[in-house]
Amino acid sequence: MSKDEIDIQLKEPIQTKDLDPEFKYELANTYLGKSIEACFKCGACTGGCPVSILTEVYKPRQIIGETLLGMRKEVLAGRMIWLCATCYTCEDRCPQKVNVTDVILAIRNIAFRKGYASKALIEQAKNMVETGWIQRPTASMNKRREALGLSPLPKKAVEDIQKIIKATGFDKLLYKKEDEK
């Protein structure tokens, strides 16, 4: 007879050979990620996070902690980094002045290059580069504007966006086909 009164899932221990100690330096070398090394993992970020209150799935301290530890693959391929609502409350509360949200944005930048970006953000970026608007304009939007005496939606500088994203290399990353990732 089993003596497990409570159902327990055992975790696999983390092996040092699977860690990449360079990961944190890669982030510390970016503008958005530069504050990461000051973190002493107190957890004020998770404590004040409006998303963490609602779900176990999102914990900013865990993101920063795993990054400092070098769990590159887990952090980049995991979905946690995309659940930040970017309210910046964690940055407000961090006693070490770590820009927690910015560090998460820096990690997202790397994840995007590896092909792990949130589909919603990719879609939004495609709207932006193709129309100049973050959301595609529709005829009904113009109708509502006209009814209020507002001018039709102005033209956006789409050609300039195309040139800029070509110069930054964003176009190739954004339109990368699945098999190239």
Binding site: L32, D92, L121, A125
Partner: protein, 291 residues
């Protein structure tokens, strides 16, 4: 008063036309002069910054360069996303010569150069600093006897480092702006906590749970309405409220306004003139209460 380059962003022109029309009609009365920016692009906010730092910076700088081309030094935006995004970009580029050079190399592709002279300000700051509380009080012709729950929108006051304030979680100028209209800004639980707007397309479950918590707190505080200066907050508390009501089979029925709309009502403009018929949550009970 000096002239501002008006950058309305994406959400306000496309999805919150009542904010668009109200900010213009009230600006006329308040003697605030806007010059429309032309040939702009999306500001390249946090969603783009999440994917590529340099692209976000370059697109932002292109918009800022247009302000310089107009011969102006201050951009006014009524959108929190644009404000935080562009204020940060302007601040980075005014301090970091090397990044500015890198960005200008990219802007050369589109025949532009940014000289890092532009100051980015939120419309709410213009109301508070340039128009002033006294002027707003003076312009009110209709007493707004309303209990208001503020929704400043996170990016009006965070990140604190970018916005340049000490600590965000206390009484602040949006309360003064509300009180100046004769309405009362009610202190309620978690009033500065995020509404989850930016997670809507990533996780509807989280967004709606977050929004629901905010609605419960507002209901407990017995507010008459919500007032925000953020178009995304507005969409959350207007259209999003409907979605939460449907999903959780609950009734909140809390009308939402942008601050410019509230100002307009206090100045005696009609709901029709301010485009308030476009709101999803009916505002009739508010109009009744103030007339």
């Amino acid at each position: 008063m000096k002239e501002f380059a008006l950058f309305s962003g994406c959400l306000i022109p496309t999805r919150v036309p009542s904010y668009d029309v109200s900010l213009r009609k009230t600006a006329e009365k308040l003697n605030v002069h806007f010059r429309e920016m032309e040939n702009t692009t999306c500001c390249a906010p946090v969603g783009v910054l999440s994917l590529d730092y340099l692209t976000s910076l370059s697109l932002g700088a292109r918009n800022l360069a247009i302000v310089e081309e107009m011969g102006l030094d201050t951009m006014c935006t009524p959108c929190n996303g644009c404000f935080e995004g562009l204020d940060r970009i302007a601040s980075i580029l005014s301090k970091d010569q090397e990044t500015l050079r890198q960005v200008n190399e990219i802007l050369a592709e589109v025949g532009k150069e940014y000289k890092a002279t532009v100051k980015v300000r939120h419309l709410a700051e213009i109301y508070f600093d340039d128009v002033g509380i006294d002027k707003i009080k003076e312009m009110m012709v209709k007493p707004l006897d309303l209990r208001v729950g503020i929704r400043p929108g996170c990016h009006l006051f965070r990140p604190i480092e970018v916005i340049g304030i000490d600590y965000s979680e206390r009484y602040f100028f949006l309360d003064d702006l509300i009180n100046a209209t004769g309405a009362e800004s009610v202190y309620y639980k978690h009033r500065l906590r995020c509404c989850g707007g930016l997670l809507r397309n990533v996780s509807e479950t989280v967004t709606e749970a977050m929004l629901r918590d905010r609605l419960i707190e507002l209901k407990e505080a017995e507010v008459d309405c919500v007032v925000t200066v953020c178009p995304l907050c507005f969409l959350q508390f207007d259209l999003g409220q409907k979605l939460v009501e449907r999903k959780y089979k609950e009734q909140y029925n809390i009308p939402s306004f942008t601050y410019s709309e509230l100002l307009g009502l206090g100045m005696g403009l009609s709901a029709k003139e301010l485009g308030l018929k476009t709101h999803r949550i009916k505002i009739d009970k508010i109009i009744e209460k103030i007339s």
